[in-house]
Amino acid sequence: MRGTAATARRVLLQLRHDPRTIGLLLGVPAVLMTIFRFVFQHEHAQFELAGPALMVLFPLFTMFLVSSVALLRERTSGTLERLLSTPLSRISLLGGYALAFTSLAIVQAGVVTALSLGALGLNLAGSTALVVLLAAAVALLGLGLGLLASAFARSEFQVVQFFPATILPQLLLCGLLVPRAHMGAVLHAVSDVLPMSYAVDGIHHLSRQSDASSAAVGDMAIVLAYALGAILLGALTLRRRTD
């Protein structure tokens, strides 16, 4: 537990020394959401349909990029080797990252949600708190996938290439562009095994129905299960003994 808290503190301190990254993490989603709103200037109904899905895509994008690079640095700079020669367990280490990044994702989701529901005039039928919690679950998914990507990359050049390889297919198939029900059988089957499909299903439950909290919580549980699976699988790639 002490290792987890110390690690979360350390990760957040690293970010505090990097105000530009914090600014980008919090500012860019807000700007993109605003642009999205004005793309649908004359079709507010379209914005109401597509806008909410962005709220769960932002934490996936940002946390994947941040964590894949952060963990790649741990692996290549020798700090991971040093950490694993201390009493810190791998689960405590990842727990620290999870704590730091979900806190950040909650702030990010808070900013985007406040802006969307306020100035941008988005209507949300369901619970706002659940939207923020769903975003936090997606952030954990981003951490898990980023951790896995960092295991298969040797440089920062390589690790960012995993973004189009693993994240963009989920963007195409999650139901943002075309409802999943309208997809062909094969694509629908693929989208059924991709975690972001459930995140988008969940946010649609929350944005379109006032009485669908339990359905949204079910979707969130699926996202969390994928996130934990990815993090545990990733933990196996943090080897104490290396060449």
């Binding site: 700090t79 201390t86 009493p87």
Partner: protein, 241 residues
Amino acid sequence: MQGSAAEHAVSARALSVTRGKREVLHGITFGLPAGRITGLIGPSGCGKTTLMRAIVGVQRNVSGELRVLGLAPGSAELRRSIGYGTQSMAAYEDLSVRENLDYFAALAGSPRGQTDAVLARVELRDSAAQLVRSLSGGQRSRVSLAIALLGEPRLLVLDEPTVGLDPLLRERLWREFRSLAGAGATLLVSSHVMDEAERCDEVLLVRDGRLLAQASPGELARRTGTENLEQAFLRLVEHEA
């Protein structure tokens, strides 16, 4: 400590390490006397770092017998008792010196206030607030050393801790090592500079993954009939050939 571990903090028999397809340590046998400073001396690329990583328990494909403080290397209870000063600094560039030390102190379960004490010992107190990214090479190696000193390590494994330091500071660090050994810690200090070996109680001379000799510096000079370790090393290599 019990049994043979009473004399030897680390003992290795027929220790070999393979990296990739290449064997880099070929059946090394040695013992590190407890409470002493042992120098691990040899040219760069001879396997010093690999040997240290094996002792710390982060090296893969180690065969032969290796006991560290009476335990298997890398075991959980052991990780509390070893301080490892890596050659690459292995600290967070985007944190200050103090933030780095505070983090590793928390992980090592250090007593409160140890960060300040350690910073003073490696003479980094004036740079405590500086980001590691902005430090000079010599300061970086002291950050690495400082992290290794945190906690209450009974065994310190220090990979080239004095590289790039000015002679005055090197002198003071060696005095620091001496006082740690005096307090009961066992030290393994690597260097590719022969004259550092003179400061050690024992020396392991390594070349091409083989142990040329383990002896005290005086004993080595006597045995090879030479004046200094540089010559002793050459004599031993000639003998091997």
